[in-house]
Symmetry: D2
């Protein structure tokens, strides 16, 4: 059995990680760190774990964490940047769910986060943990920058087009809708039940940080700089991201041709499901690590519209973190993740 520590275990990404790890056949959770709940059992904070996992939350002990085979950091931005260098320097294998280690270029980070990166030398060692694209590099790193939820859904939905040079590089538009868990375990009024239910809104138009992650990866795939419009939306559900994406075709293509292209591109990927027809819905993937993709070519406009869905705290956070762990530890990538989602 491998051992794992989860730092930030009582946030929503953290607790989904705990749920997945707890039923993972090759891993034992050794340590749950939660600044706010030191001394409380995880099952007191999340009663669904009562009798299932009654481990106590503790304060961070870097040595103890680093002694585990893998350390997950699901910490708020500020906390993360202090902790990770310490862990890294102790030799830990780290999967970080924050935005801090997702960039190839510290300047891009600085531009979108509004501050200099605090550990540019460690950033260089990190690998962007979008498993389907960077599996080989992930195997050989000790620090994985686990991708954002919007970004995972959007990049995988567009990758085959850009990798194959099918679409024009300008006018790529990503219109994404997220469930409320995407905001984390927040007591802000904006995320209260009465303000969220029966309500939908766009937010952070043209300024959301995930834009830069998507652009970084699409640019690498395309071999040229890609800039996109990215608009995130909040919709009244807990789990789920739905990205609707628009790109102009260089040459006429049919829907069938592009579906074939996607199926070929993802033919070895268990977690990416390309639809022969029809469109994916967020409840097809809720509670799972799958990415479901459908697409339609609008021949009138010589434009392709792609619709992809993930569970934002599954493949968009904790699920992909476990997938990264499986890669890091040399396990079958599907271990502990192969089941169907809830649907209901």
């Amino acid at each position: 059995m491998f051992t794992a520590a989860v730092l930030g275990a009582t946030g929503y990404a953290g607790i989904e990680l705990v749920r997945l790890l707890n039923s993972h056949p090759e891993v034992e959770i050794k340590m749950l760190v939660s600044h706010s709940f030191v001394g409380k059992k995880i099952s007191e904070v999340y009663p669904n774990f009562k009798g299932v996992l009654d481990l106590e939350c503790e304060d961070l002990d870097v040595d103890k964490a680093a002694a585990c085979d893998v350390v997950f950091t699901a910490l708020p931005h500020g906390a993360s940047k202090e902790v990770i260098p310490q862990l890294y320097n102790k030799g830990a294998r780290i999967i970080d769910l924050s935005g801090d280690f997702r960039y190839d270029d510290a300047d891009v980070y600085a531009k979108w986060y509004g501050e200099e990166h605090s550990s540019p030398e460690i950033l260089k060692e990190s690998v962007y943990g979008l498993c389907e694209l960077h599996r080989d590099k992930i195997k050989n790193t000790r620090l994985v920058g686990n991708p954002g939820c919007y970004t995972t859904c959007s990049i995988l939905g567009l990758a085959p087009l850009l990798a194959n040079g099918i679409v024009k590089s300008d006018n790529i538009i990503v219109d994404a809708k997220s469930g409320v868990t995407g905001a984390g375990r927040s007591s802000a009024l904006d995320y209260s039940f009465c303000e969220c239910t029966e309500n939908a809104k766009a937010y952070k138009i043209a300024t959301h940080r995930h834009t830069s992650e998507i652009e970084q990866e699409l640019s690498k795939l395309a071999g040229e700089e890609i800039m996109i419009s990215f608009t995130p939306h909040l919709i009244p559900q807990k789990r789920g991201i739905l990205s609707t994406m628009y790109a102009n075709l260089k040459k006429d293509k049919t829907t069938e041709e592009l579906i074939e292209l996607y199926k070929e591109y993802y033919k070895d990927e268990y977690f990416v499901r390309v639809y022969d027809s029809g469109l994916p819905e967020t409840n097809h993937v809720a509670g799972s690590n799958f990415v479901d993709i459908g697409l339609v070519v609008d021949t009138r406009l010589k434009r392709v519209v792609i619709s992809s869905v993930i569970d934002n705290i599954g493949k968009g956070a904790a699920g992909q973190a476990v997938q990264n762990m499986n890669i890091l530890l040399g396990l079958d990538e599907k271990t502990g993740l192969s089941g169907a989602g809830f649907y209901l």
Copy 2:
């Protein structure tokens, strides 16, 4: 007091009309037609009306309906096309909530509805009832084609840009999200609670009929043919449409400049509210006849992103129908519609 008949009173658009008309100070509901509930009180079908309006639903009597000052038809497609010519020929003033009388050109109808228009001669007499754009023509018609929900939200969100030649005509994208009342009072499994809640999806990509309505109106505003990508989505709430729209600027403009342009364009419109800053949310307009609009210029991309919201059964159906009635009857356009929405 003017008199009104509502045909199709027990559908969702119909019953919202009844709710609005029942509290309208200048109108009396004389007749509720519902094929499925003949002989039942409207308050038996919708118990919220118990003691408030206990009028019996009846079968259609064209003469009786035509004798009212205004007839609203909120009928299924098939029923509508038979009834309206009869009513029209009896001299009735009609506000039709179906898609049948929204087109300038019967060929466009035929193309998107997959069948010839059954009353092209009456279609010629009809006026597209988007009040803010066609108020003057509405005054002088007897047949208003009340606009679709997606279309109202999207056209008004884009109108100032096209009327002023601010954006390029290609690459206009409308990504719209709708609450489930948009599907009407349906018992289809797809609209059941367990299938809809915690779920979001795109549907009818590149083929939704509202595309043609939006294109018709934008083309008129622009003075050139406009073709758009229109993607409707279903999100888990009852009321509300949110359109997020993308268009490329011909020249550099700031967010502030475009907001100013919008405010000027809509300066006399009570029901259109342009945000100085921030973005609209569907609960800002739920239960009202308002259209709220926010926008952001993405200077990186020389692109404007507009976000507009309506209540799909308010301004997107019943509210606008009452607004059209007010115009037809020479009343103040705001009568019975001036209140704030529910928010909660």
Copy 3:
């Protein structure tokens, strides 16, 4: 036109009051007090009011408030008890939405609120504002203790039985379910979207303060001391209270006989709707001032089960406050409240 001030205008009960008063034909809102939003327009806090009511929120000026024809206080507990004596002593007519002025006996207040009442002499002057039961006294007071939401729903659901001596006084059980607006405009984690949606729970079993209000009123109706079990529950919706109540019959009665009794008891009450058959649902009353009641006699057990529903921020707070105002001001009790609820 009468003038009104709303203290605590930006809470959920407050804003629903503002919504109702704004469309009330005989009242003008003169003053909105909100400690947290001084200097902001109400339409900046609740954008549904943009262009409809753009009055600025201000800090409390007791003289200015007391100069209005009626003052509504929808303040948190602490604030309320300081402000009301000042207003009362200036001669104001006050409708208080807190729990402070709902009791005949300061000792009962002390027992359930865990502290002595701060203004027992003013408490004596106040009238419990359950309009259907205390209309005559309300006319002659200057201080109305507007009832709680659970209490309004439960008392009116049981009143005919106790007033007519139909049921035994022990074993009365009130099991009540409330939407989340009942918790007010709260940013507590417990009321966040992700914690509330897809979730239901009982809370404060045997200790909820509304127990004492219900007992006070039922005891007066019965002419003997009544003690009840009252269990509140939180369910995942915004508006609505559903009380399911159980009482043992003294003598055999049929469902029909008791329905007849209820209809007779409430025959002059516009806002109480007794169902001939079937059971009420919260969406029958959402957005309205109605109380809907259904009942079934379980002849096996010689027990009656009553189900009553209200909108907790309508008849359970702001609606009843307006009804009380209508009584205080000598207006028709239905003024501004006669419409049907939203249903959708």
Copy 4:
């Protein structure tokens, strides 16, 4: 590996069974029967299974089904009563999720279902599959009547009191709230999103069939005939049942004493979690096989109020069916069921 057949695989209980069995380490699904979807892959009906389980649905072949180690029947009432005798006579081990084989006495069935039992001789062989109460009998039967959702939640919530003679037998009241999956995969208008969301209601007061199941089991536990009030409610969520139960104490007891009694009674039960303090919420058990119980003694009234929760399609249907299967097959009862629920 044991083999299993699921009849009625495409209903909500059926598909949850498929989800659980698919990740069960000791069982292989050999056969999915669905009359409506013969020839379709289960993953076409429920796309969450795409790539996970792509087994085709087939029509019923009794011999093929009976050849499996266990057959689950999750069929509509009419279908069930024809199929089960055939399967039983072929020697199959059957776990039936309908109401048909839950009764000790065919007369009770006849009274509550309004028709004679069609296989009274087979009914005699069946065992009521409430695992915690009838484990020993379940081991030795070939036909388990898997309990209803309301009944599982309510019986387990009351069992310790009745088994220990703590409460009076009259005046036991069960007020239960259910999510909408309880109605099955239904396209009835009553279960449409727009009619269910933001809505709550009681239904079938004094007549719901589950009353008789609860009474049967409580009577056996108490050793005397118990008759209860049972009121089911529909609340706007997918999963979850919350039972709030009221019973009068024979002698004074404290909350702590009764909690101790419950903990002792359930000390060997993994799936029953008694709360030391606080009350259970449906999201503590959603997606799991747990029953969570909290209670409070109201000393004013000498009454205990118990609150218990389950996932209605988990422990209330598919989860308990798997638990029964584990017992039948001699496996550890927790196999495939030991994980925590979703919470989010």
